[in-house]
C-alpha cells in the first residue's frame, strides 16, 4: 500500500471508529442530542437505539473501510473522499434515526412533565477560573521554531522547484515552504485560540449534581486542553516531517513515505483515549465527589435550541461556545453574531490558502 492510498484509507477507518464510539462518551443525560432526565438514561428505548446505532455504524465503518482498501489502487484522488462523504452521511442518518425514536417516546410519555427544570451557575468559577496551560504550548512553538531554522538552513541549497510527498508533482520551493508554515500556524493558533475561548465560556454544570459536576468539568477542561495542545504539536511535527522530506533532508520510499501521517494518527489516538476516559464534561470521571451540594432539580429541557440535535442556535444566550451534545467537545452558538464572524475568519483563511495554492501551482 502506498503513502497516498494509506492517506485515503486512514480517514475512513478513523471516522468509522469515532462515530461508532460517540454515544459511549456523551453525557448520559443527553442521548443522541435529546435531553433526558437522569433516571430515564437507562430506559428501554435508549438501550435499544444505542445498540442499533453501534451495530449500524460498525457495519457502515467496516464496509466503507473495505471499499477504501479495495479501490486504493485506482489512483483517483476523489474516490476516497466520496467514500468518506458517504460514510459520514450514513452515520448521520443513523444518529437522526435514533434521535427521532427517543424524542418520540420522550414527548409521548412526558418525561419532563412536572419537573423542576433548572440552569445552575457557579459564581465561584469566576473567582478561581481555570488557568490556560500556557507552558503546554511550548512543544508546538518549539516544532515551529525548528521548522523555521531547518527551512532557513536548507532554503538556499534547494532547487527552484521541488517534488512533494503527498501532491506527487513539483512545485516552487517558496510556495511549499510558505504552505508548511501556514499549516503549522493554523493548527497552533486555531487549537490554542479555541481552547482560550472555551476557558472563558460557561462550565457544563449538571443541575442534579452541581458542585461535583463543576469539579469534574474543571478536571476535564485541564486534561483535554493539554491533550489538544499536544495534538497541535504532533500536527506541527507531521508538517515538519513533510517539510524535511520535501526539503530533501531525508528520503523514504513505499509505505515509509507515510511517516508524516504517524504524528497525526498519534494525536488522534491520544485525544480518543482522553475522551474515552473522561467522557463529555468529565461525565465518566470517578463520582466520589458527589453530594457536595443539594440537587437543584433536573437539567432544563433545551432541545428546541438544538437543530437536528447537533447545532445550537439561541439568540437569547450570549454564550459563544457551549458543550457539544454528541461526543466530546464544544459547539458554537450560531445565534451569536460573533460565531458567524469566526466562521467567516475560517472561510477567509481557507479561501486565501486555496487562492495561494492555485497561484503557486499546488
Amino acid at each position: 500500500m502506498s503513502a497516498g492510498s494509506l492517506a485515503g484509507v486512514v480517514p475512513v477507518l478513523t471516522v468509522g471508529v469515532l462515530t461508532c464510539s460517540m454515544p459511549a462518551v456523551s453525557r448520559p443525560t443527553v442521548q443522541f442530542g435529546v435531553r433526558v432526565p437522569g433516571e430515564r438514561a437507562g430506559s428501554p428505548v435508549i438501550r435499544r437505539e444505542r445498540r442499533a446505532y453501534y451495530w449500524r455504524t460498525a457495519v457502515i465503518g467496516v464496509c466503507c473501510t473495505v471499499a477504501a482498501v479495495m479501490t486504493r489502487d485506482y489512483g483517483s484522488w476523489w474516490l476516497p473522499k466520496i467514500i468518506l462523504l458517504l460514510e459520514l452521511g450514513a452515520d448521520l442518518s443513523c444518529f437522526l434515526v435514533a434521535r427521532r425514536q427517543i424524542a418520540a417516546v420522550k414527548n409521548a410519555d412526558g418525561w419532563f412533565a412536572g419537573r423542576r427544570q433548572t440552569v445552575v451557575a457557579d459564581t465561584g468559577w469566576r473567582d478561581d477560573p481555570p488557568r490556560f496551560p500556557v507552558r503546554w504550548m511550548i512543544p508546538a512553538l518549539a516544532v515551529m521554531a525548528a521548522t523555521a531554522v531547518v527551512g532557513a538552513l536548507r532554503y538556499r541549497g534547494l532547487p527552484a522547484h521541488t517534488a512533494t510527498v503527498f501532491l506527487g508533482h513539483r512545485v516552487s520551493k517558496s510556495a511549499l515552504s510558505a504552505l508548511i508554515v501556514a499549516g503549522q500556524l493554523y493548527f497552533t493558533t486555531v487549537l490554542s485560540g479555541l481552547m482560550l475561548i472555551v476557558h472563558r465560556s460557561r462550565p457544563d454544570i449538571e443541575a442534579a449534581d452541581p458542585a461535583a459536576s463543576a469539579l469534574r468539568y474543571r478536571r476535564f477542561l485541564a486534561v483535554i486542553t493539554r491533550a489538544l495542545l499536544i495534538m497541535a504539536a504532533l500536527a506541527d511535527l507531521g508538517l515538519l516531517l513533510i517539510a524535511l522530506s520535501d526539503w530533501q533532508v531525508y528520503r523514504l520510499s513505499g509505505i515509509g513515505r507515510a511517516l508524516p501521517v504517524v504524528p497525526f494518527a498519534a494525536g488522534v489516538l491520544l485525544l480518543g483515549v482522553v475522551a474515552a476516559r473522561m467522557g463529555q464534561g468529565g461525565s465518566r470521571l470517578n463520582g466520589n465527589v458527589r453530594g457536595l451540594a443539594l440537587a437543584a432539580g433536573t437539567d432544563r429541557d433545551d432541545d428546541r435550541f438544538w437543530k437536528a440535535g447537533l447545532v445550537y442556535v439561541n439568540r437569547d444566550d450570549p454564550a459563544l461556545v457551549v458543550a457539544a451534545r454528541f461526543g466530546v467537545g464544544w459547539m458554537l452558538n450560531y445565534g451569536n453574531p460573533v460565531a458567524w464572524l469566526l466562521i467567516a475568519g475560517f472561510a477567509a483563511w481557507w479561501a486565501g490558502l486555496a487562492v495561494f495554492g492555485a497561484a503557486a501551482g499546488l
Binding site: 440552569v119 457557579d122 468559577w125 469566576r126 460557561r202 450570549p318
Partner: protein, 141 residues
C-alpha cells in the same frame, strides 16, 4: 455560590436572580463588601440575556442590597450584620408578609402548616450576626 434559576418557570428570570442573591446574602454566603459576578459573565453562565441580569441587579440596587459601580462592579452593600433595616422598609416588608400569610390562609393552609413553613425558613436563614447587631442597637423591629 451556586445560583440556580428555572428559565421556563412562572416567575420572571430577573426576579429569580434577585431572589437567589437575596437568599445568598441572608445565608451569609455573600457578605457585605463581596463582589457578585459581572452582569455579562452571569448572563453567559446562566444562558440568559444581559438585560435580564441587569434588571435583577437593578432591583437589588433599588432595595439597597447592592452597589453598582463602573469600576468596582456589583458589590453587596449590606447583610445581616449591617444593623437594623430602615423602619420604612420593615413596615413595607411586614405588609408583604401579611399578604403572603393571607394567601396561604385563603388557600386553606392550616395555621400549624403556616407556622411550620415559617419556622423552616427562619432556620434556613439563620441570623446570628443580625441578632448581635440588633442587640447592640436595641430591640429587633
Amino acid at each position: 455560590m451556586l445560583l440556580s434559576i428555572e428559565p421556563d418557570g412562572p416567575v420572571p428570570i430577573y426576579q429569580q436572580i434577585r431572589d437567589r442573591i437575596v437568599e445568598a446574602i441572608a445565608r451569609g454566603r455573600q457578605p457585605a463588601g463581596s463582589a457578585l459576578p459581572p452582569i455579562r459573565q452571569l448572563a453567559v453562565d446562566l444562558g440568559v440575556n444581559f438585560h435580564t441580569v441587569n434588571k435583577g441587579y437593578d432591583l437589588l440596587r433599588q432595595e439597597g442590597l447592592l452597589r453598582l459601580g463602573r469600576k468596582s462592579g456589583a458589590v453587596v452593600r449590606r447583610d445581616a450584620s449591617s444593623g437594623p433595616p430602615d423602619p420604612g422598609w420593615a413596615q413595607d416588608w411586614a405588609g408583604r408578609l401579611r399578604t403572603l400569610l393571607a394567601e396561604a390562609a385563603a388557600q386553606g393552609m392550616p395555621a400549624t402548616g403556616i407556622v411550620r413553613e415559617c419556622e423552616a425558613a427562619v432556620a434556613d436563614f439563620t441570623f446570628p450576626a443580625a441578632s448581635e447587631a440588633w442587640q447592640g442597637s436595641g430591640s429587633p423591629p
